[in-house]
């Protein structure tokens, strides 16, 4: 495991050797390495194949902008494709695999694409897969899908957990380079709440990668000292491994913290990543700058890297990209690179500086005014060809080429509110311009201040300015001394030539593609982007965009400033969807509400169904029952024959109190409640202002100024919101107070001819349940089982003699057991939502299926319930001409003939005639098998339905290919006179 390219020095921990595999081969590295630096140290240059042409590719950068060094990390269910080797912290046992190659990285069959590159240029897919149309889905799509993508997913559920979180601060500092560290220090010392987020596992930014002294020490020593001071401040939180991915409205920032990515597997229960929602009063973007390459023929060969990345590998990671390194530059950074390489003992074979007036070099042979015109080597760089200033040619051997085309400030986050960067000529780069999100300022290299001294000073000054805006006075910190060199650049975007010169290496976009886009008139930057896919890869064009639009500017004869740049959008760097989901996955996707009798029902073997966020018992299978229908039919018949019990606690319950409570209810219900006597319950119909039915339920008057409203389970939240709207927005003058009581009460429907006999054993004896004493629609505060407070309502959803009895929820579990015990002599039968549904359909009671938002009281046959003698919501618009027309829909009952089946969703058609939209007479809303009728029945809406009882029509369901002959009847299949209720 010799690390062939490992140098002395660096910021790695040589006392902690680590072992990892790449494509099955074992290599060694050290703590403090990234996967990329360890590969470099081991002399591995070839790490992947390109997206379209399957060209051999190597690592280009040492940061999050990496377009080429993408690998699959880990194995099995934890496999993660397209992971940037440059952002992967090395740990012992790390497993990485190259992608987009078959059968192997060194020999890839699809590399044949490269030979056909002339046909695969920009727009190839748009132009090629046009016709015949019949081929789109069957032929072309499978071809395109096979070719698309780099890595592949494991296909197994991710076994790790992810979390979300919320943090608040006065100042969020984004990036811990010289500007960010100085800003955090200044703000921290002033006592402000500070969060310092940096995407690296070790804060310091370029201070770790350069040989630049700060305050008399190395940059890394200074950075460590600052971090130590920040860590000692309780008001400062340093978040390494944390990427600020987006800027949202009003100072909300998305921050992805990779808490477990650097571990073999996160400990049980610990998240792999945490997505923080940071609320920052002010933020300072100190994200630094990204170095760009230069376009020249075959500039994508493994071994060609950013000059700054070469310095990073040599200085921070003690890893030489090759034994012999050449440099190609258009600015002074190339010379700095040469100095660093020479100091580390690496052979610098040439400095190729495109500037004719390039400064002299004392470490390597300088070719001023020369450019690189081509490269050679099969799976890695072997040498470069030059065109010299005098027009001559030369070939130079090298295993790596450090390229510096200048620096692009990392303005991305300033564009998240459609901010437009502006071009600054002297640094040949875009800097933040108009539209930077409010509350966000920019400091250091991110706004084009490239010297270390300049970044330190700007970080401190911007922190003071930002804190001043929110009333925190920060004394200026003393600045450490550092280099303050100017930045001299003569732009060179690409070296003209006939062969392909890459701009966007991840998406395989070349200078030729931009020329083609220009030729075909896709000249606006946004068109260029979409036509060529330039900048549409995972890196959002961080190394390529400016190059591409500079080439376009050249072709159109406009300046780069005029050409403009595309918009950057969140996320700043690729972010797993799992991190956005956090813990909201699987059963915990949203909260589950359990009924008070849930544990008891589970003991009975109940089958549960999700009803909104509730889990309700759907039916209670008994031994020997093989189908759900058997269980449901039994529950229905037993209830109607003797007595059944059902947990109805899920119905919304709203406690309404106040001197104007009755008047308030008169406004929100279409019928009148102010006249309801105390101790009585009334059915209420609630309309929306447009006249459609919103909800229904019973409301009880518990006292002179005290009502209790019930809502349907599904609408409980919406109705409460509506009532608060009426109370606060429409009638703030009324004396009305509201509070939800849904969770307070465990409520059970006890239904059937023996319901009273069961309850008499539970209810304390002083409460008379006789029909005269407690008639239909009565309600009372009572006590049960020797003094436990309870509420009793004589209401019925099933159509039987029935009560709903409520006890405080803490007694709910005991209450269902008590009811079952008391009901044993009557063979009391627990029933679930299915039987509940069957019985309410048999009785013709409407529910959410019927109250679908398009139904009026008139459609339900309840027009008389809309009082015209008082103001009530919806009453005026319910009177609109079309809503009171004679040929409106009417609620009807439907009974299937000849053993047919009524299906909800079927549409109704006359007995004869065409089946089309023009002849549609209505539709079926609910359907069930009625053991009472012995047939399939349903409820539905039918034009002039009330006049058509007795007719036979057709219920058609073309989607399911089903139809049935149905007889129109009253929606009340049982006890239409309501005698059972009143017994």
């Amino acid at each position: 495991m010799t690390q062939t390219n490992r140098l002395d020095g660096g910021l790695i921990d040589r006392s902690t050797p680590l072992s990892f595999t790449f494509d099955g081969r074992t290599y060694g590295g050290f703590a403090g390495d990234t996967l990329a630096s360890a590969l470099v140290a081991n002399g591995v240059r070839l790490v992947g194949r390109s997206f379209k042409y399957h060209r051999p590719r190597g690592i280009i950068s040492a940061g999050s902008e990496e377009p080429n060094g993408l690998v699959e990390l880990r194995a099995g269910a934890r496999r993660e494709p397209n992971s940037r080797a440059t952002m992967t912290e090395l740990h012992d046992g790390l497993v990485a695999t190259s992608q987009n190659r078959f059968p192997s990285l060194r020999f890839d069959l699809m590399a044949v694409n490269d030979r056909f590159s002339a046909f695969l240029g920009a727009g190839f897919y748009y132009k090629t897969f046009m016709w015949p149309r019949a081929f789109w889905e069957r032929v072309y799509e499978p071809i395109i899908r096979r070719a698309a993508g780099l890595g592949s997913l494991s296909g197994a559920p991710d076994p790790d957990v992810y979390d979300r979180g919320f943090r608040h601060c006065d100042l969020l500092v984004i990036g811990a380079g010289p500007a960010g560290l100085m800003a955090a220090l200044t703000a921290g010392r002033a006592g402000a709440e500070v969060i310092l987020a940096d995407e690296d596992f070790r804060p310091g930014g370029r201070l770790l990668q350069e040989r630049i002294a700060v305050g008399g020490d190395s940059g890394a020593v200074w950075a460590d000292a600052v971090i130590a001071e920040l860590a000692s401040m309780p008001n400062v939180r340093v978040m390494p491994r944390s990427t600020v991915i987006g800027v949202f409205d009003h100072g909300i920032y998305g921050v992805l913290e990779r808490t477990g990515d650097h571990l073999q597997t996160p400990a049980e229960g610990k998240p792999r990543q945490v997505m923080w929602r940071v609320y920052a009063r002010r933020a300072l973007l100190c994200a630094g700058a990204t170095e760009r390459l230069i376009g020249f023929a075959d500039n994508d060969r493994p071994g060609i890297m950013q000059a700054g990345a070469v310095r990073g590998y040599v200085n921070r990671f003690a890893a030489a990209p090759a034994e012999q390194v050449a440099i190609f530059t258009n600015n002074d950074d190339g010379h700095r690179t040469a100095g660093d390489l020479a100091a580390a003992g690496v052979d610098v074979t040439a400095i190729i500086d495109s500037r004719p007036d390039a400064p002299a070099s004392d470490v390597a042979e300088l070719f001023a005014g020369a450019v690189v015109t081509g490269t050679s080597g099969r799976l890695g760089l072997g040498g470069v060809s030059l065109r010299l200033a005098d027009g001559g040619h030369k070939h130079i051997h090298c295993g790596a080429l450090a390229v510096s085309g200048g620096w692009n400030p990392n303005v991305h986050l300033t564009c998240h509110h459609r901010g437009r960067p502006v071009w600054q000529d002297d640094i040949a780069a875009f800097i933040p311009g108009e539209g930077v999100p409010p509350g966000l300022a920019v400091a250091g290299a991110a706004r084009g201040i490239f010297s270390t001294a300049g970044a330190l000073a700007d970080g401190a000054a911007q922190a003071v300015a930002q804190l001043d805006e929110i009333g925190i006075r920060a004394p200026a910190s003393k600045l450490p001394d550092s280099e303050d060199a100017g930045f001299a650049i003569s732009p060179l975007w690409h070296v003209p030539g006939k062969k392909r010169a890459w701009l966007d290496q991840q998406n395989d976009v070349t200078v030729k593609d931009v020329k083609l886009a220009h030729q075909e008139n896709f000249r606006a930057v946004e068109h260029l982007k979409r036509y060529t896919t330039l900048g549409m890869a995972g890196d959002q064009g961080r190394t390529s965009n400016v190059l591409g639009l500079a080439v376009m500017a050249e072709l159109t004869g406009r300046s780069i400033a005029e050409t403009g740049t595309t918009i950057y959008r969140p996320p700043y760097s690729p972010t797993p969807i799992a991190a956005f989901a956090g813990r909201s996955v699987g059963r915990e996707f949203r909260p589950t509400r359990l009924t008070p009798s849930h544990h008891w029902a589970a003991e009975q073997g109940a089958v549960f169904v999700e009803a909104g966020s509730w889990l309700r018992a759907q039916w209670f299978p008994r031994e020997g029952e093989t189908t759900w229908r058997e269980s449901v039919d039994r529950e229905v018949l037993a209830t109607r024959a003797s007595v059944g019990v059902c947990d109805v606690s899920t119905l919304g319950k709203i406690d309404i109190q106040g001197g104007d409570a009755g008047a308030f209810l008169d406004l929100v219900y279409s019928n009148t409640f102010s006249t309801l006597p105390v101790g009585k319950t009334r059915y209420g119909l609630m309309l929306r202002e447009d006249g459609m039915v919103m909800d229904d339920g019973t409301t009880a008057r518990l006292g002179e100024t005290h009502y209790l409203m019930t809502t349907t389970t599904a609408n409980a939240v919406g109705v409460y919101r509506h009532l608060e709207f009426v109370r606060q927005c429409l009638r703030p003058d009324m004396d009305v107070q509201l509070i939800s009581a849904t969770d307070s009460w465990a409520q059970f429907a006890v239904a059937g001819p023996n319901a009273r006999l069961v309850l008499q054993q539970i209810v304390d004896p002083q409460h008379d349940l006789a029909n005269d004493a407690f008639p239909f629609m009565a309600c009372a505060d009572i006590s049960v089982c020797g003094g436990v407070p309870a509420r009793l309502f004589r209401i019925s959803f099933s159509g039987e003699l029935a009560y709903e009895i409520a006890v405080p929820s803490r007694y709910g579990d005991a209450m269902i057991r008590a009811l079952m015990e008391a009901g044993e002599p009557f063979d009391i039968t627990p029933y679930g939502t299915e039987a509940l549904g069957v019985m309410r359909i048999e009785k013709g009671h409407v529910t959410g299926n019927e109250l679908n938002g398009t139904i009026t009281a008139r459609n339900l046959g309840m027009a008389r319930m809309v009082s015209s003698k008082k103001d009530s919501i919806g009453a005026v618009l319910a009177g609109r001409e079309a809503l009171v027309a004679e040929d409106g829909l009417c609620l009807v009952g439907l009974r299937a003939l000849d053993g047919g089946q009524v299906m909800a969703g079927s549409h109704l058609f006359d007995a004869a005639g065409p089946v089309d939209a023009a002849h549609d007479r209505g539709y079926v809303t609910s359907a069930a098998y009625s053991p009472h009728i012995g047939a399939s029945i349903g409820l539905g809406f039918l034009v002039r339905g009330a006049e058509r009882h007795g007719e036979v029509i057709r219920a058609m369901n073309p989607l399911e290919g089903r139809s049935a002959q149905v007889e129109i009847c009253s929606p009340h299949f049982i006890d239409p006179e309501g005698e059972r209720l009143r017994d």
């Binding site: 909300i252 202002e689 703030p732 618009l877």
Partner: protein, 90 residues
């Protein structure tokens, strides 16, 4: 987004539910001669401008207040927040 609640200070918009144009506060008189027309306009002819807009927001995951939020729908800037129950009746 952040909504600066008049009683509770800045709160994440995720805690709120939006209803729309604050014109819904001014419900017409049901007894007026033109009630049908007035209710039609009240219900259906509501504003939805690109620019400054008064909207109703409900602090459902908070104190259950209905708020009138004056907001620029283009920039999302929140310009003014009032309790709906406290508005001066016009």
């Amino acid at each position: 987004m952040i909504i600066d609640h008049p009683l509770l200070g800045p709160r994440d918009a995720q805690e709120f539910v939006i209803l729309g144009d604050a014109g819904l506060i001014d419900r017409p008189d049901w007894k007026a001669d033109d009630a049908a027309e007035a209710f039609y306009e009240y219900q259906y002819l509501r504003d939805n401008p690109a620019g400054t807009h008064r909207e109703l927001w409900y602090h459902e995951m908070g104190d259950r207040s209905w708020l009138i939020v004056t907001r620029d729908t283009v920039t999302h800037a929140v310009l003014k927040v009032e309790l709906a129950s406290q508005r001066r009746r016009t």
